[in-house]
């Protein structure tokens, strides 16, 4: 027997809109089964995972901290994915943004003025964009596959950061821990509402970026160009749009936003560089982008949901004693169900029996 995917003549508009919610429901259902197999009461487990973190102000702040980088990266990725540029290396661009932005407080700790922070943010953007320019250049010049190059550059960035904090940038007064010096006061991204929790301005940047990109995508010629080139490159060429220019635009924009997310995370939530500064934000943001239907406003909602899976993972570890890797499992299931739902909206499954069903008499 053979299984075939047959393209549907018409897609259901209703199910297209419902798809992310169906995927979410299926993820929770699968999560319940998972917890049951782990010997936990699924209802309590899901409560600790998805509801408990939303009940206290401080943990809402934590949610904002976790969601900010996801949203920032994912809105940039949405431009990439819509224009058919598969930037999988946002994790690396996040790290390089953090590294380049941290140069000022780490290498010149005496340089303390009010404009250090804005300068760091700009440098963070530039660092992420420059790192994303590498796969863009390779794609334009040599037609290399950007999925591979951008992904491989993630590992380069991770190891580069690891080397920095263990080597030249290690805090001399840090008891040999692999960490840089703590950033001085002018290099710290302030909290939004210091009275109630730790959430920093990174979350505001994320909201501004989402609204700005939503506007660009839906109202401007640039957004039109992105969509045309992504849907039908030949029609884009007929329109007179330049493919190399758009490749660079998409990569530089998404790299810059990932870099901004990186420097915001380091200067806002951490206050120093460590060997590992991201729990995989750059990869999780890919899920966020698709769960948000590649629509920047949808991505804000999706970013909050995925941010919750990180928080829930931590909560579940504390309250239930399960591994915090459960968070990754939930994220993986979510992506699986989103893509699965989308596939079934566009295609229907057909089972085909063995070819000799009806005997045919030879003439």
């Amino acid at each position: 027997m053979r299984i075939e995917l047959v393209k549907r003549q018409q897609r259901s508009a209703l199910f297209s809109a419902l798809s992310p919610f169906i995927a979410l429901a299926l993820t929770i259902l699968a999560g319940a089964i998972l917890f049951a197999f782990l010997g936990k009461n699924p209802a309590t487990a899901l409560y600790y995972y998805f509801v408990d973190p939303l009940l206290e102000t401080w943990s809402l702040h934590e949610l904002a901290i976790k969601s900010a980088p996801l949203i920032l990266i994912a809105v940039g990725l949405s431009i990439c994915f819509l224009s058919n540029n598969w930037n999988i290396g946002a994790e690396g661009q996040f790290i390089m943004g953090a590294v380049v932005g941290s140069m000022l407080p780490v290498m010149f700790p005496e340089f303390q003025y009010w404009f250090v922070l804005p300068l760091m943010l700009v440098m963070g953007i530039a660092g992420g964009a420059a790192y994303a320019a590498i796969p863009a250049f390779l794609k334009v010049r040599f037609n290399t596959n950007e999925i591979l190059t951008s992904l491989m550059l993630v590992y380069v960035a991770q190891l580069f950061l690891d080397w920095l904090v263990r080597g030249p940038w290690r805090n001399p007064a840090g008891f040999n821990f692999p960490e840089t010096v703590r950033f001085h006061a002018h290099a710290i991204l302030p909290e939004i509402l210091p009275a109630s929790g730790r959430a920093h301005w990174g979350f505001v940047f994320a909201l501004i970026a989402a609204v700005a990109l939503w506007f660009i995508l839906s109202r401007t010629l640039t957004g039109f160009e992105v969509k045309v080139m992504g849907q039908s490159p030949r029609a884009g060429r007929f329109a007179g749009f330049s493919r190399p220019k758009l490749i660079f635009f998409a990569f530089l924009l998404s790299g810059g936003l990932a870099g901004l997310a990186g420097i915001s995370e380091v200067s806002g939530a951490m206050g120093q560089l460590r060997p590992v500064i991201s729990p995989g934000y750059g990869f999780t943001a890919i899920i966020v982008a698709f769960l948000g239907r590649l629509n920047p406003l949808g991505i804000v909602a999706a970013g909050l949901v995925l941010g919750l899976t990180y928080l829930g993972g931590e909560a579940a570890q504390i309250s239930l004693g399960v591994s915090d890797k459960v968070a990754r499992v939930f994220q993986g299931m979510l992506l699986f169900f989103v893509l699965g739902c989308d596939t079934l909206i566009h295609y229907r499954v057909r089972f085909i029996g063995s070819p000799a069903q009806k005997p045919v008499e030879e003439a």
Partner: protein
């Protein structure tokens, strides 16, 4: 008993896509040893019907009887086992393999290449289909490729052969050879279902005809007893308005608006055609046609003229007297040129975008002031108004206020795309296959619009495989063969034979001597 003579009978065959009844209760019988024509406009349901007969589509209701027995044709391999063979309009051949290897790939049995080549050679001799089984498909002409498909089909020893628009890629002379082959097959008692919208060849070849319109059978007839216009009436449902064209004398001196001189282009891929020294001038007020069998460099030529591919030298292409060889497509549009490519969906229009957005596609530079605020912000209101105006002007039929391009039928989308460019009043218009797959009514409208544009003083260049169309609208016809372009022949001196010979590769440099030979 007639029962014994019917090879295939179809009763009430129906296929529904969404809300569209593509085939609605089709009845059809094909007798042994007849050539049966299936006539209909584009979108009448011919392809859907044939796909059900060949097992690529499953009918919603109705039955198929093969030699009087009901059968379920669930897949093409079932159809082949029954004895139904098909030659598709679009070939499925691997260009990097030889003819024999291609045939081998389609067989269920395992046989050596040598044996296949021998069999293919036998068949090609027996049916007058000259073919070298060891030639690479990439090197073969379209006519030769079709012969591979036919031989591949004959190797299965079918009793019914379905041919889908087989002459659309052939020169008139090649088509005549194909007809002889088909007549030989008929004399051996094989049946042929011949799908076409070309009325003359149906009258020439077929014993009976079934006419489809909007998914329904509107009549059976003997095409030999009908006239071309009575058949057309059955297909279209009413009289098609004929195109009014007063040819202009191309020898008079007028302003040259489009000039191409010595255009050479390397083949971009191993299987595309290099252009070799193509030269052409289109003056104000003229419609110049470029005839040619598909795949002789027309697509490459269009890309070079439109600026999707740039030239090395700026003066190879001149628009309104200005060097344009180094300008991209937007730059050439700004000089007053407009372009309509062959492929509608995915080239001339983005399928998933609305009509108003597709309006922006080719006009965001030339109409930046009207369509964009501050050069970047899209004015959706103006776009919607303009697109409404074009829809009205070209009589585009659509189901929603501003539907996605893919939701329109081919003919209506083409009317919109042509209207989008005409709406700019371009001084140079270059169109590739203006009415390919477009129904007769829409085709007449598009042709008339092109003639009217030329009459208003613009230069119009039409690339087409449809000779009837070119004779209808052109003031002169040039022929493209193997990347070379012949001198244009004024319409008063052009004949089908002359053009056909040039399409087949006769010496393009001396059309005059050729004319004497034919006369």
């Amino acid at each position: 008993m007639t029962q014994g003579r019917d090879l295939l009978e179809v009763r009430g065959l129906t296929k529904i896509f969404g809300r569209l009844k593509a085939c609605d209760g089709i009845d059809l019988t094909i007798e042994k040893g007849e050539i049966h024509a299936l006539l209909g406009e584009n979108g009448a349901g011919k392809s859907t019907l044939v796909k059900m007969l060949f097992g690529s589509l499953e009918p919603n209701s109705g039955e198929i009887l093969w030699k009087g027995e009901p059968v379920a044709v669930t897949s093409p391999s079932v159809a082949r086992k029954l004895g139904i063979g098909m030659v598709f309009q679009h070939f499925s051949l691997f260009e990097a393999l030889t003819a024999a290897e291609n045939i081998l790939l389609s067989l269920d049995r395992r046989i050596g290449v040598g044996e296949i080549a021998e069999k293919a050679r036998e068949l090609s001799r027996a049916y007058g289909l000259p073919l070298d089984p060891h030639a690479l498909v990439g090197d073969l002409s379209v006519g030769e490729r079709q012969r591979i498909e036919i031989i591949r089909c004959l190797l299965q020893e079918p009793e019914l052969i379905i041919l889908d628009e087989p002459t659309s890629v052939l020169t008139p002379q090649e088509a005549e050879k194909l007809f002889e082959t088909l007549e030989r097959l008929r004399s051996e008692g094989k049946s042929i279902l011949y799908i076409s919208h070309r009325l003359e060849e149906v009258k020439r070849l077929c014993d009976r005809a079934t006419v489809l319109r909007h998914g329904k059978v509107v009549g059976h007839c003997d095409p030999r007893k009908e006239t071309a216009s009575s058949l057309a009436r059955m297909m279209v449902g009413n009289e098609v308005q004929s195109v009014v064209h007063e040819p202009v004398d191309v020898s008079e001196t007028r302003e040259a608006l489009l000039e191409v001189r010595g255009l050479n282009r390397q083949a971009a891929t191993p299987f595309s055609i290099p252009l070799r020294g193509v030269s052409l001038v289109v003056h104000a007020g003229e419609v110049i046609g470029i005839a040619g069998v598909a795949g002789n460099g027309q697509g490459e030529f269009f890309e070079a003229v439109s600026g999707e591919a740039l030239q090395a030298e700026a003066d190879v292409v001149k628009l309104r007297g200005k060097d344009a060889g180094r300008l991209d497509i937007s730059g050439r549009r700004l000089l007053g040129a407009a372009f309509v490519p062959e492929e509608r969906l995915g080239h001339g229009a983005a399928p998933r975008m609305r009509l108003s957005e597709n309006l922006l596609l080719s006009r965001f530079r030339t109409d930046a002031k009207a369509f964009l605020a501050g050069g970047r912000l899209i004015r959706a209101g103006t776009l919607a108004e303009t697109s409404k105006r074009i829809v009205k002007e070209m009589d585009v039929r659509k189901s929603a206020e501003d539907p996605e391009a893919a939701a329109l039928s081919g003919g209506n989308l083409q009317k919109f795309i042509v209207g989008r460019e005409l709406d700019r009043r371009p001084s140079i218009m270059v169109v590739n296959q203006p009415t390919w797959g477009v129904d007769a009514g829409a085709a007449a409208r598009i042709r008339q619009a092109l003639i009217d544009l030329a009459a208003s003083g613009s230069a119009v260049l039409v690339i087409s495989q449809d000779l009837d169309e070119l004779f209808e609208i052109s003031d002169a016809i040039a022929v493209m063969h193997d990347g070379k372009l012949s001198a244009p022949i004024p319409i008063a001196e052009a004949t089908y034979e002359k053009i056909g010979l040039l399409m087949g590769g006769a010496d393009a440099s001396s059309p005059a001597s050729l004319g004497e030979e034919v006369a």
